[in-house]
Protein backbone atom coordinates (compact mmCIF):
# COMPACT_ATOMS: atom_id res chain seq x y z
CA UNK A 1 0.00 0.00 0.00
CA UNK A 2 1.48 3.30 -1.01
CA UNK A 3 1.95 6.20 1.32
CA UNK A 4 -0.64 8.25 -0.59
CA UNK A 5 -3.22 5.58 -0.19
CA UNK A 6 -2.64 5.36 3.54
CA UNK A 7 -3.04 9.11 3.93
CA UNK A 8 -6.21 8.90 1.88
CA UNK A 9 -7.62 6.12 4.04
CA UNK A 10 -7.47 8.37 7.09
CA UNK A 11 -10.09 10.64 5.51
CA UNK A 12 -13.80 9.97 5.91
CA UNK A 13 -15.03 7.88 2.95
CA UNK A 14 -16.97 10.72 1.35
CA UNK A 15 -13.88 12.91 1.13
CA UNK A 16 -11.59 10.29 -0.43
CA UNK A 17 -12.77 10.92 -3.96
CA UNK A 18 -14.45 14.30 -3.74
CA UNK A 19 -13.75 17.73 -2.36
CA UNK A 20 -16.33 19.76 -0.51
CA UNK A 21 -18.71 22.20 -2.24
CA UNK A 22 -17.03 25.03 -0.35
CA UNK A 23 -13.66 24.08 -1.82
CA UNK A 24 -15.17 24.13 -5.29
CA UNK A 25 -16.59 27.54 -4.57
CA UNK A 26 -13.11 28.68 -3.61
CA UNK A 27 -11.70 27.41 -6.89
CA UNK A 28 -14.48 29.00 -8.92
CA UNK A 29 -13.87 32.30 -7.16
CA UNK A 30 -10.53 32.61 -8.93
CA UNK A 31 -12.36 33.36 -12.17
CA UNK A 32 -12.51 36.93 -13.32
CA UNK A 33 -15.65 38.98 -13.40
CA UNK A 34 -16.51 42.51 -14.46
CA UNK A 35 -17.41 45.11 -11.88
CA UNK A 36 -18.17 48.79 -11.75
CA UNK A 37 -16.04 50.00 -8.85
CA UNK A 38 -17.31 52.68 -6.52
CA UNK A 39 -13.85 53.38 -5.14
CA UNK A 40 -10.58 54.17 -6.82
CA UNK A 41 -7.60 51.89 -6.38
CA UNK A 42 -4.23 51.74 -8.03
CA UNK A 43 -3.13 48.61 -9.84
CA UNK A 44 -2.27 46.21 -7.06
CA UNK A 45 -0.22 43.04 -7.14
CA UNK A 46 -1.66 39.90 -5.55
CA UNK A 47 -0.19 36.42 -5.53
CA UNK A 48 -2.52 35.38 -8.35
CA UNK A 49 -1.77 38.45 -10.44
CA UNK A 50 -2.09 42.22 -10.62
CA UNK A 51 -5.57 43.69 -10.74
CA UNK A 52 -6.82 47.18 -11.29
CA UNK A 53 -6.55 50.02 -11.51
CA UNK A 54 -10.09 50.69 -10.37
CA UNK A 55 -11.38 54.02 -11.69
CA UNK A 56 -15.07 54.62 -11.20
CA UNK A 57 -17.18 54.58 -13.30
CA UNK A 58 -15.03 52.48 -15.67
CA UNK A 59 -15.48 48.75 -15.63
CA UNK A 60 -12.70 46.54 -14.35
CA UNK A 61 -12.01 42.81 -14.34
CA UNK A 62 -11.12 41.30 -11.01
CA UNK A 63 -11.38 37.83 -9.46
CA UNK A 64 -14.74 36.88 -8.02
CA UNK A 65 -13.40 36.59 -4.47
CA UNK A 66 -12.26 40.17 -4.63
CA UNK A 67 -15.52 41.33 -6.19
CA UNK A 68 -17.46 39.61 -3.42
CA UNK A 69 -15.31 41.28 -0.84
CA UNK A 70 -15.80 44.73 -2.35
CA UNK A 71 -19.49 44.13 -2.90
CA UNK A 72 -20.06 43.21 0.73
CA UNK A 73 -18.45 46.53 1.64
CA UNK A 74 -20.68 48.24 -0.91
CA UNK A 75 -17.66 49.36 -2.90
CA UNK A 76 -18.66 47.98 -6.29
CA UNK A 77 -21.48 46.78 -8.49
CA UNK A 78 -21.06 43.35 -9.99
CA UNK A 79 -21.93 42.86 -13.63
CA UNK A 80 -23.58 39.50 -14.17
CA UNK A 81 -21.75 37.16 -16.55
CA UNK A 82 -23.34 36.82 -19.99
CA UNK A 83 -24.98 33.51 -19.06
CA UNK A 84 -26.51 34.64 -15.78
CA UNK A 85 -29.79 35.98 -17.10
CA UNK A 86 -33.29 34.66 -17.52
CA UNK A 87 -33.26 34.30 -21.33
CA UNK A 88 -30.06 32.31 -21.51
CA UNK A 89 -30.96 29.99 -18.66
CA UNK A 90 -34.54 29.56 -19.83
CA UNK A 91 -33.22 28.52 -23.25
CA UNK A 92 -30.96 25.97 -21.56
CA UNK A 93 -33.85 24.73 -19.49
CA UNK A 94 -35.95 24.18 -22.61
CA UNK A 95 -33.04 22.34 -24.19
CA UNK A 96 -32.61 20.31 -21.03
CA UNK A 97 -36.20 19.14 -20.97
CA UNK A 98 -36.53 18.40 -24.67
CA UNK A 99 -33.17 16.84 -25.50
CA UNK A 100 -31.50 13.78 -24.06
CA UNK A 101 -28.00 15.07 -23.36
CA UNK A 102 -26.99 17.70 -20.84
CA UNK A 103 -27.17 21.26 -22.13
CA UNK A 104 -23.97 23.26 -22.34
CA UNK A 105 -23.45 25.47 -19.34
CA UNK A 106 -20.30 27.03 -17.93
CA UNK A 107 -18.41 24.32 -16.04
CA UNK A 108 -18.68 26.14 -12.73
CA UNK A 109 -22.10 27.70 -13.18
CA UNK A 110 -23.44 26.32 -9.89
CA UNK A 111 -20.71 27.83 -7.77
CA UNK A 112 -20.62 31.18 -9.53
CA UNK A 113 -24.36 31.68 -9.73
CA UNK A 114 -24.75 30.79 -6.07
CA UNK A 115 -22.09 33.24 -4.94
CA UNK A 116 -23.32 36.06 -7.14
CA UNK A 117 -26.99 35.61 -6.35
CA UNK A 118 -26.04 35.49 -2.72
CA UNK A 119 -24.06 38.70 -2.43
CA UNK A 120 -25.11 40.72 -5.46
CA UNK A 121 -28.76 39.96 -6.07
CA UNK A 122 -29.44 43.70 -6.31
CA UNK A 123 -27.01 43.99 -9.25
CA UNK A 124 -28.53 41.10 -11.20
CA UNK A 125 -31.77 41.81 -13.02
CA UNK A 126 -34.58 39.35 -12.22
CA UNK A 127 -32.52 37.59 -9.56
CA UNK A 128 -35.56 35.81 -8.17
CA UNK A 129 -36.60 34.50 -11.55
CA UNK A 130 -33.03 33.37 -12.24
CA UNK A 131 -33.00 31.49 -8.96
CA UNK A 132 -36.13 29.58 -9.85
CA UNK A 133 -34.98 28.77 -13.39
CA UNK A 134 -31.63 27.58 -12.03
CA UNK A 135 -33.43 25.36 -9.57
CA UNK A 136 -35.52 23.80 -12.34
CA UNK A 137 -32.40 23.39 -14.43
CA UNK A 138 -30.58 21.61 -11.61
CA UNK A 139 -33.51 19.29 -11.04
CA UNK A 140 -33.80 18.43 -14.73
CA UNK A 141 -30.10 17.64 -14.83
CA UNK A 142 -30.29 15.60 -11.67
CA UNK A 143 -32.98 13.45 -13.23
CA UNK A 144 -30.64 12.81 -16.14
CA UNK A 145 -27.71 11.86 -13.96
CA UNK A 146 -30.04 9.40 -12.25
CA UNK A 147 -30.72 7.84 -15.63
CA UNK A 148 -26.97 7.68 -16.12
CA UNK A 149 -26.77 5.65 -12.94
CA UNK A 150 -29.17 3.12 -14.43
CA UNK A 151 -26.79 2.53 -17.32
CA UNK A 152 -23.73 2.22 -15.14
CA UNK A 153 -21.33 -0.59 -15.91
CA UNK A 154 -17.93 -1.63 -14.68
CA UNK A 155 -15.93 -0.18 -17.54
CA UNK A 156 -16.49 3.39 -18.54
CA UNK A 157 -18.88 6.15 -17.92
CA UNK A 158 -19.48 9.37 -19.72
CA UNK A 159 -21.79 12.29 -19.05
CA UNK A 160 -20.84 15.08 -21.45
CA UNK A 161 -21.44 18.64 -20.19
CA UNK A 162 -21.89 17.49 -16.63
CA UNK A 163 -20.72 20.34 -14.43
CA UNK A 164 -18.17 20.58 -11.65
CA UNK A 165 -20.60 20.71 -8.73
CA UNK A 166 -22.70 17.90 -10.16
CA UNK A 167 -19.68 15.72 -10.78
CA UNK A 168 -18.51 16.34 -7.28
CA UNK A 169 -21.84 15.37 -5.79
CA UNK A 170 -22.16 12.04 -7.55
CA UNK A 171 -18.49 11.10 -7.65
CA UNK A 172 -18.23 9.26 -4.31
CA UNK A 173 -20.99 6.78 -5.00
CA UNK A 174 -20.48 6.51 -8.75
CA UNK A 175 -16.84 5.60 -8.18
CA UNK A 176 -17.70 3.10 -5.48
CA UNK A 177 -20.54 1.56 -7.49
CA UNK A 178 -18.25 1.05 -10.43
CA UNK A 179 -15.59 -0.47 -8.21
CA UNK A 180 -18.15 -2.92 -6.89
CA UNK A 181 -19.35 -3.81 -10.37
CA UNK A 182 -15.76 -4.30 -11.40
CA UNK A 183 -15.42 -6.87 -8.64
CA UNK A 184 -18.65 -8.66 -9.46
CA UNK A 185 -18.19 -8.62 -13.19
CA UNK A 186 -16.67 -11.64 -14.80
CA UNK A 187 -15.72 -11.73 -18.40
CA UNK A 188 -17.04 -14.81 -20.13
CA UNK A 189 -14.34 -17.36 -20.68
CA UNK A 190 -12.11 -15.81 -18.04
CA UNK A 191 -10.21 -18.40 -16.04
Amino acid sequence: MSHDRRVLMSLPPSLRTSVTPTELELIASQQLIEIIPLIAMEKTAFISGAYGPLRPPHRAKIPIWMAVNLKLKKKCHIIAPHWLNVEFLQARLNEETTETGFSRLPFRFSEISKVLLDVASDDIPDAEKIRSVLKDLCEARQAKSREGLANLDQGEFSLPNFCSMEINEVRPFFVQSMAILQQLYRESGET
Binding site: M1, P12, P13, S14, S18, T20, P21, T22, E25, V68, L72, K114, V115, D118, V119, R146, L149, A150, L152, Q154, M165, E169, V170, R171, P172, F173, Q176, S177, A179, I180, L181, Q183, L184, Y185, R186, S188, G189, E190, T191
Partner: protein
Amino acid sequence: MDNDYFSIDAILAENQKFQCTFKQEIPDMGHLGGGSERDIQVQSKRQIPIWLAYTIIYSDWADFDIPAAFGPKVRNALKAEPRSVRLANLVGAGGSWYGFGKTTMDILSDEQAQVLSEMLTTTFKGRLIEVIDQAQHFAALGPVGASGNTGDSSQAFREGLDATERDLFTLAQESSKKMKRWYEETEKSKR
Protein backbone atom coordinates in the same frame (compact mmCIF):
# COMPACT_ATOMS: atom_id res chain seq x y z
CA MET B 1 -14.83 -7.04 -1.52
CA ASP B 2 -11.41 -6.61 -3.05
CA ASN B 3 -8.72 -9.05 -2.09
CA ASP B 4 -6.48 -6.41 -0.62
CA TYR B 5 -4.66 -7.71 2.44
CA PHE B 6 -5.49 -4.55 4.37
CA SER B 7 -9.13 -4.42 3.40
CA ILE B 8 -11.44 -4.80 6.37
CA ASP B 9 -14.27 -5.47 3.94
CA ALA B 10 -12.40 -8.43 2.49
CA ILE B 11 -11.91 -9.87 5.96
CA LEU B 12 -15.55 -9.34 6.86
CA ALA B 13 -16.71 -10.93 3.62
CA GLU B 14 -15.00 -14.12 4.75
CA ASN B 15 -17.04 -14.17 7.91
CA GLN B 16 -19.37 -16.73 6.34
CA LYS B 17 -19.55 -20.49 6.16
CA PHE B 18 -19.74 -23.00 3.38
CA GLN B 19 -21.59 -26.28 3.62
CA CYS B 20 -18.97 -28.86 2.71
CA THR B 21 -19.48 -32.54 1.97
CA PHE B 22 -16.34 -34.46 2.79
CA LYS B 23 -14.94 -36.92 0.31
CA GLN B 24 -12.32 -38.28 2.66
CA GLU B 25 -12.23 -39.31 6.23
CA ILE B 26 -10.43 -36.76 8.36
CA PRO B 27 -9.34 -38.25 11.65
CA ASP B 28 -9.54 -36.32 14.92
CA MET B 29 -11.25 -33.34 13.36
CA GLY B 30 -14.84 -34.09 14.33
CA HIS B 31 -14.96 -31.07 16.63
CA LEU B 32 -14.94 -28.76 13.59
CA GLY B 33 -18.62 -29.36 13.07
CA GLY B 34 -19.39 -28.99 16.72
CA GLY B 35 -20.42 -32.65 16.86
CA SER B 36 -19.34 -35.23 19.36
CA GLU B 37 -17.83 -37.66 16.86
CA ARG B 38 -14.09 -37.97 16.87
CA ASP B 39 -13.48 -38.21 13.11
CA ILE B 40 -15.06 -36.55 10.11
CA GLN B 41 -16.70 -39.35 8.10
CA VAL B 42 -16.87 -39.61 4.35
CA GLN B 43 -20.10 -38.04 3.01
CA SER B 44 -20.69 -36.14 6.22
CA LYS B 45 -21.61 -32.45 5.97
CA ARG B 46 -20.03 -29.68 7.96
CA GLN B 47 -20.33 -25.91 7.97
CA ILE B 48 -16.80 -24.75 7.30
CA PRO B 49 -15.66 -21.11 7.67
CA ILE B 50 -14.41 -19.68 4.41
CA TRP B 51 -10.79 -19.21 5.45
CA LEU B 52 -10.58 -22.91 6.13
CA ALA B 53 -12.80 -23.94 3.27
CA TYR B 54 -10.29 -22.71 0.68
CA THR B 55 -7.73 -25.28 1.74
CA ILE B 56 -10.23 -28.08 2.07
CA ILE B 57 -11.85 -27.46 -1.31
CA TYR B 58 -8.65 -26.83 -3.23
CA SER B 59 -7.06 -29.96 -1.72
CA ASP B 60 -10.09 -31.88 -2.97
CA TRP B 61 -10.97 -33.21 0.47
CA ALA B 62 -14.51 -32.00 0.15
CA ASP B 63 -17.12 -30.60 -2.21
CA PHE B 64 -19.14 -27.59 -1.27
CA ASP B 65 -22.71 -26.59 -2.01
CA ILE B 66 -23.53 -23.18 -3.36
CA PRO B 67 -24.73 -21.33 -0.27
CA ALA B 68 -28.48 -20.91 0.11
CA ALA B 69 -28.02 -17.14 -0.17
CA PHE B 70 -27.33 -17.70 -3.88
CA GLY B 71 -29.54 -20.72 -4.35
CA PRO B 72 -32.44 -21.18 -6.78
CA LYS B 73 -35.02 -19.79 -4.37
CA VAL B 74 -33.17 -16.50 -3.97
CA ARG B 75 -32.36 -16.43 -7.66
CA ASN B 76 -36.01 -16.66 -8.64
CA ALA B 77 -37.00 -14.01 -6.13
CA LEU B 78 -34.32 -11.72 -7.52
CA LYS B 79 -35.42 -12.39 -11.05
CA ALA B 80 -38.96 -11.40 -10.14
CA GLU B 81 -38.01 -8.17 -8.38
CA PRO B 82 -34.49 -7.43 -7.13
CA ARG B 83 -35.72 -4.67 -4.84
CA SER B 84 -38.05 -6.87 -2.85
CA VAL B 85 -35.38 -9.27 -1.59
CA ARG B 86 -33.87 -8.57 1.79
CA LEU B 87 -30.22 -9.24 1.10
CA ALA B 88 -29.23 -8.48 4.68
CA ASN B 89 -31.28 -11.42 5.92
CA LEU B 90 -29.42 -13.79 3.63
CA VAL B 91 -26.00 -13.13 5.10
CA GLY B 92 -26.70 -12.25 8.71
CA ALA B 93 -26.32 -8.92 10.47
CA GLY B 94 -23.69 -6.65 8.99
CA GLY B 95 -22.88 -9.17 6.31
CA SER B 96 -22.02 -8.38 2.73
CA TRP B 97 -24.10 -10.41 0.29
CA TYR B 98 -22.06 -9.16 -2.63
CA GLY B 99 -18.79 -9.81 -0.85
CA PHE B 100 -19.86 -13.35 0.00
CA GLY B 101 -21.02 -13.76 -3.60
CA LYS B 102 -17.68 -12.61 -4.91
CA THR B 103 -15.85 -15.04 -2.64
CA THR B 104 -18.10 -17.88 -3.73
CA MET B 105 -17.67 -16.90 -7.36
CA ASP B 106 -13.90 -17.16 -7.05
CA ILE B 107 -14.09 -20.75 -5.87
CA LEU B 108 -16.72 -21.94 -8.34
CA SER B 109 -16.06 -23.44 -11.74
CA ASP B 110 -16.14 -21.09 -14.69
CA GLU B 111 -19.60 -21.86 -15.87
CA GLN B 112 -21.23 -21.57 -12.46
CA ALA B 113 -19.20 -18.48 -11.66
CA GLN B 114 -20.49 -16.85 -14.81
CA VAL B 115 -24.08 -17.44 -13.79
CA LEU B 116 -23.43 -16.14 -10.30
CA SER B 117 -21.64 -13.09 -11.64
CA GLU B 118 -24.62 -12.24 -13.81
CA MET B 119 -26.95 -12.63 -10.88
CA LEU B 120 -24.80 -10.38 -8.70
CA THR B 121 -24.38 -7.64 -11.29
CA THR B 122 -28.03 -7.53 -12.37
CA THR B 123 -29.12 -7.45 -8.76
CA PHE B 124 -26.70 -4.69 -7.93
CA LYS B 125 -27.77 -2.58 -10.90
CA GLY B 126 -31.42 -3.29 -10.26
CA ARG B 127 -31.21 -2.02 -6.71
CA LEU B 128 -28.69 0.79 -7.11
CA ILE B 129 -31.09 3.53 -8.19
CA GLU B 130 -33.43 2.79 -5.32
CA VAL B 131 -30.51 2.92 -2.88
CA ILE B 132 -29.37 6.30 -4.17
CA ASP B 133 -32.89 7.70 -4.45
CA GLN B 134 -33.64 6.86 -0.88
CA ALA B 135 -30.29 8.17 0.33
CA GLN B 136 -30.93 11.50 -1.37
CA HIS B 137 -34.47 11.56 -0.10
CA PHE B 138 -33.25 11.14 3.46
CA ALA B 139 -30.53 13.72 3.01
CA ALA B 140 -33.18 16.20 1.89
CA LEU B 141 -35.35 15.46 4.90
CA GLY B 142 -32.62 16.33 7.36
CA PRO B 143 -32.36 15.01 10.90
CA VAL B 144 -35.91 15.96 11.87
CA GLY B 145 -37.74 14.02 9.22
CA ALA B 146 -35.37 11.07 9.24
CA SER B 147 -37.94 8.91 10.95
CA GLY B 148 -40.75 10.08 8.70
CA ASN B 149 -42.79 7.42 7.05
CA THR B 150 -42.21 6.92 3.37
CA GLY B 151 -44.24 3.80 3.02
CA ASP B 152 -43.64 0.28 4.20
CA SER B 153 -42.00 -1.01 1.07
CA SER B 154 -39.20 1.55 1.09
CA GLN B 155 -38.57 0.96 4.76
CA ALA B 156 -38.41 -2.77 4.15
CA PHE B 157 -35.99 -2.11 1.33
CA ARG B 158 -33.74 -0.06 3.58
CA GLU B 159 -33.71 -2.72 6.23
CA GLY B 160 -32.79 -5.28 3.61
CA LEU B 161 -29.69 -3.46 2.37
CA ASP B 162 -26.52 -5.49 2.72
CA ALA B 163 -23.31 -3.93 4.06
CA THR B 164 -22.07 -2.98 0.58
CA GLU B 165 -25.24 -1.10 -0.27
CA ARG B 166 -25.36 0.44 3.16
CA ASP B 167 -21.96 2.01 2.52
CA LEU B 168 -23.20 3.40 -0.77
CA PHE B 169 -26.30 4.73 0.93
CA THR B 170 -24.16 6.58 3.47
CA LEU B 171 -21.87 7.96 0.78
CA ALA B 172 -24.75 9.29 -1.30
CA GLN B 173 -26.52 10.67 1.72
CA GLU B 174 -23.45 12.52 3.00
CA SER B 175 -22.78 13.93 -0.42
CA SER B 176 -26.31 15.25 -0.76
CA LYS B 177 -26.25 16.65 2.74
CA LYS B 178 -23.07 18.54 2.03
CA MET B 179 -24.58 20.00 -1.13
CA LYS B 180 -27.72 20.99 0.69
CA ARG B 181 -25.77 22.68 3.47
CA TRP B 182 -23.72 24.56 0.92
CA TYR B 183 -26.73 25.75 -1.03
CA GLU B 184 -28.38 26.98 2.11
CA GLU B 185 -25.50 28.89 3.66
CA THR B 186 -25.13 32.50 2.63
CA GLU B 187 -22.22 34.88 2.68
CA LYS B 188 -24.02 36.98 5.24
CA SER B 189 -24.53 34.07 7.60
CA LYS B 190 -20.81 33.30 7.47
CA ARG B 191 -19.87 36.69 8.85
